[in-house]
């Protein structure tokens, strides 16, 4: 068998050339891969493998081409000289390529580890960015909520009608809302550069001590009635509650007090108490008056009947006169009691308070002027007609004017002043005198039945009580303002009702 060697040579030459060409192309691609990602260890590995394969391709292919050329040219001797070197280099290149190839497993594991770390780093980075963004949103939302909350509570603090006071551990006022400022009569929180202490506003030092003890003991003070005084010394009752905040050492850092002015409530309570008292007495008096009225009428009637049959100047006539006089006095008292107890008939018609006042003045003016007591009148032009029981209202004015006269004694003046308050639809009638005034301890009792400061026999103590009853019966009010030595002012407030033709019968 004979086989031509030419095809082998052709394949050898062409193959060797292609090996060199493609090995270099592989190096080029591997370099591009490497440039794509310099840190990628796999691309580095492939580049080194391609370098080794290129070296292998050169060594082998150049050897083959050189062999073919030298043998064709008849330089067998030169080839025989080169052949061992070519073969040795080839062997070395095989080993180099194989060795580099074996590093694939380790390189791949390193690459995997790096990729894993990179992914973890990237995930951590992304998570951080996410958290950072979310944190910003969260903080922004929270800040907005806090701002809203702060505005809301600031508004509550500012517009609260109760005083809110924040004090430090030493009771120095740190903050105070406008209502608190008004209650305490303050214009600033400092005086002479120092913070004002809340304790200074307590009328009784022991009350402040009690509150301090409660705060230290239980950390709060429940609603407690205390008496405070304003910066100018005016006393007013308040309902006070407080909560303490303590620091790490257990000492009180600050206390928030809430103070509610209960002056009006207290006044109302007093008025209610007075009304209850008067109502009770009124019921009692009415019962007694009703029982006594008939026997008194009988006594008076019989006394007058017996007087007709007696000659004047006789002892019996004088005795009967005394009986008649005292019976009349008793009857007056009983009638007053019945008036006070509203058990007498009330007849309301359209009338004018000015007419009632003029009528009363015409009765008393002459008598007063003899004693040097001058009556002035200052009637409001706007005062309208109103529905009232003129007789009873005259009785009220008479009582007040007579009281004023008695308070003055001799020489003085009485001012009668009327005004119409359109906003409240009521008429005020003031009776002001320049008399001795009413002492502070007597003021709460002047409307009590049978209370009088006059000597025995000069007053029944029913005048103001009866007046009070009549005014209340007209849905009005009667106020008194008095300073000892400065005179007194009684103010009758009557609501203006204009329902014509309504004659109302009360009592029975």
């Amino acid at each position: 068998m004979t086989l031509p060697l030419f095809p082998i040579w052709m394949v050898d030459l062409a193959g060797s050339s292609l090996m060199i060409l493609f090995s270099f192309l592989c190096v080029r691609l591997a370099r591009r891969l490497k440039n794509q990602d310099q840190s990628n260890v796999i691309w580095t590995y492939l580049l080194w493998l391609c370098y080794a394969l290129a070296a292998f391709a050169i060594s082998r292919s150049v050897g083959h081409i050189a062999k073919r050329i030298l043998l064709t040219a008849g330089h067998n001797d030169i080839w025989n000289l080169l052949r061992p070197y070519s073969g040795s280099i080839n062997s070395l290149m095989f080993v180099v390529v194989a060795s580099i190839t074996l590093f694939f497993e380790r390189t791949w594991k390193v690459y995997q580890q790096i990729s894993k770390d990179q992914r973890a780093l990237q995930e951590a980075h992304e998570e951080l960015i996410y958290l950072n963004r979310n944190l910003e949103h969260l903080v922004a939302a929270r800040t907005q909520e806090l701002a809203l909350s702060e505005r809301k509570y600031r508004r509550i603090f500012e517009v609260s009608r109760d005083g809110i006071i924040l004090v430090d551990g030493g009771a120095a006022i740190i903050n105070l809302n406008p209502a608190g400022l008004a209650l305490l009569g303050l214009s600033s929180l400092t005086t002479d550069g120092e913070r004002i202490r809340f304790s200074h506003f307590f009328a009784a030092a022991e009350e402040w001590r009690g509150i301090q003890e409660a705060l230290e003991r239980q950390g709060f003070v429940p609603d407690t009635e205390v008496l405070l005084k304003t910066d100018r010394g005016a006393l007013f009752p308040v309902l006070l509650s407080g909560t303490a905040e303590t620091g790490d050492n257990g000492a009180i850092d600050s206390v928030q007090f809430l103070i509610k002015d209960i002056s009006q409530r207290k006044a109302m309570e007093k008025q209610l108490l007075q009304a209850d008292k008067l109502a009770s007495i009124g019921q009692l008096a009415a019962g007694i008056a009703h029982e006594i009225n008939n026997p008194l009428s009988m006594i008076l009637g019989y006394a007058q009947l017996m007087l007709r049959g007696e000659q004047e100047g006789t002892q019996q006539y004088a005795d009967l006169k005394i009986i008649e006089k005292h019976a009349r006095n008793c009857k007056t008292i009983v009638e007053d009691l019945l008036s006070f107890a509203r058990s007498t008939q009330t007849r309301r018609t359209v009338g004018h308070v000015h007419a009632a006042l003029d009528e009363v003045m015409s009765v008393v003016r002459h008598h007063f002027e003899l004693d040097g007591v001058h009556i002035e009148k200052n009637f409001g032009a706007q005062v309208p007609q109103m529905i009232l029981d003129a007789e009873k209202i005259k009785q009220v004015f008479m009582n007040l004017i007579m009281n004023a006269k008695q308070a003055i004694g001799r020489k003085g003046s009485i001012l009668l002043r009327t005004r119409y308050d359109a906003a409240h639809a009521r008429v005020s009638i003031e009776v002001r005198d320049t008399g001795a005034g009413i002492s502070r301890e007597h003021l709460p009792r002047i409307f009590d039945p049978f209370f009088t400061t006059k000597p025995t026999g000069e007053g029944t103590g029913l005048g103001l009580s009866v007046s009070y009853g009549i005014v209340k019966d007209h849905d009005g009010d009667i106020l008194v303002r008095s300073e000892p030595g400065q005179g007194s002012t009684f103010t009758v407030l009557l609501p203006v009702t204009t329902t014509r033709g309504a004659e109302i019968d009360n009592g029975g």
Partner: protein, 161 residues
């Protein structure tokens, strides 16, 4: 387990080198056959390393990607080429099987006895070894090109996001 394959291979090579060495004095004489043996062992080392590469490519399922699959084919062809080259080198040493006629001319040919025509034909075909190593390097080139395209696509995708 994977490490043990490498270890066994290396230890096997070491054992072969040690057991095949001839007794020597202080300095060993490197006679002519040693070069061939070294060359053959280098081919064997090449085969083993490529085999291991294929093993890892398959083990880690990298062959599911086209680029690495082409690299796998490249390794396979390099293995085949190495086997082919080893056969050629072996038959080159069997001088009695065939002889070259008209050596040094364009009409040179391989002649053999009818009795040894089989090995001569095998030698003839094996001498066309570039038909194996050129596809091997071409597969490697194709594999690298695909890996590059993949990397470029991934990079542009990353930059787009």
């Amino acid at each position: 387990m994977k490490k043990s394959y490498v270890s066994i291979t290396l230890w096997g090579l070491a054992w072969m080198l040690l057991t095949m060495a001839q007794p020597a004095g202080a300095t060993q004489v490197h006679a002519e056959p040693e070069g061939l043996y070294v060359h053959q062992i280098a081919h064997l080392f090449f085969i083993v390393s490529m085999g291991i590469l294929i093993y890892w490519l398959r083990e880690w399922k990298l062959v599911e990607q086209k680029g690495w699959r082409l690299v796998q084919y490249s390794s396979l062809f390099f293995i085949l080429w190495n086997i082919d080259a080893m056969i050629v080198h072996y038959l080159d040493e069997q001088g009695a099987i065939f002889q070259t006629i008209n050596a040094g001319t364009d009409y040179a040919s391989l002649a053999s006895d009818p009795a040894s025509s089989g090995p001569a034909l095998l030698y003839y075909l094996a001498k066309l070894d570039h038909l194996l190593c050129v596809p091997a390097i071409v597969f490697l080139y194709a594999g690298l090109r695909h890996l590059l395209q993949q990397a470029q696509a991934a990079k542009s995708s990353d930059s787009a996001t």
